[in-house]
Symmetry: C2
Subunit: 188 residues, 2 copies
């Protein structure tokens, strides 16, 4: 059983579904994590994990995701959650109206930390395109405007969770973490 510090139920659902394959169960901790301002997701996740481990006095992991749109100089980047809450998907689509280069990248970082220790990070990246309009009803956040490469032109929101989990940024980072966790704490 591993503790997962987050208040995002959608993330919990995805992570539970991925970790089932590894027979790892998680307990959601609603510990308020402290997120710093930084241009990369790793630094934010690392600081959050150290903070959450201190607060909850137990080993814990966090997951942080950024959306990096090439034509927007990486915007919204690590501030995807704030941008989602304010200008939202419609804002991103408006910023890209008339823009032909729609390449974008989701980056997910899982950071694990035990109290008093260093944080260990695991990165998952998926490349794709920002769609012309919102499509699909699965998923959350920017899923309905992101078409991952290899997804046949469909957005993440047009894929059931099992299919998204086959190659999403979050699935990659969580799987790397799971492999490491099993090796580290349950032996080879």
């Amino acid at each position: 059983m591993v503790r997962f510090a987050t208040s995002n139920v959608n993330k919990v659902e995805e992570v539970v579904s991925i970790l089932e394959d590894y027979l790892i169960r998680i307990e959601q901790v609603n510990a308020k994590t402290m997120e710093i301002q930084a241009d990369n997701v790793e630094d934010i996740a690392k600081t959050s994990a150290i903070w959450a481990a201190q607060e909850s006095k137990s080993p814990v992991f966090v997951e942080d995701t950024g959306l990096f749109v090439k034509a927007l100089e990486g915007f919204p980047g690590p501030y995807a959650a704030y941008v989602y809450k304010t200008i939202g998907r419609k804002g991103i689509l408006k910023l890209l109206s008339g823009v032909s280069d729609r390449r974008a990248e989701f980056r997910s970082v899982v950071a694990f930390c035990a109290p008093g220790g260093e944080a260990v990070c695991f990165l998952g990246i998926v490349s794709g395109m920002i769609s012309a309009e919102e499509r699909g009803s699965w998923g959350f956040g920017f899923d309905s405007i992101f078409k991952p490469d290899g997804g046949g032109g469909r957005t993440f929101a047009e894929m059931p969770i099992d299919e998204k989990n086959r190659y999403s940024h979050r699935a990659q980072s969580v799987r790397k973490f799971a492999d490491w966790y099993l090796k580290s704490f349950r032996g080879p």
Copy 2:
């Protein structure tokens, strides 16, 4: 002499010019401050000041500014610097194209902290409108797309620094800080 932790030379210039009236001289400290993610500028400035005082082992102040656009649910808010670096002024104008409610607010917070102490905050707010296009060459950041109320329809970038300092958000917060500082450390 008071230490000002910032790496923004434009801010230094404005703050020096405001504090001249109070005969307060400042020393710029390039201490890397840690900024947290929060929806309000106060919390960010407070944490930065505590951090900067610890790092530089001396009393220090920081200044943090947010731009809150009403029709964009407060975006870019406290992340104005990151948004400026990525989508910039043109991005804000594009997000507001076709939007009639162009009301916005600049909020500036000065936070002062001595090592081991609490941070003291001073808030300055100026209301105005986002202009239809960039205008003027003074100032920095979003100055050329912000028309403060009472400015005769001109943007901050169309006003020389002395005029901007008569009513800007930053001038207000810095003046409140200066009044408090003189009373606290030089007596009545």
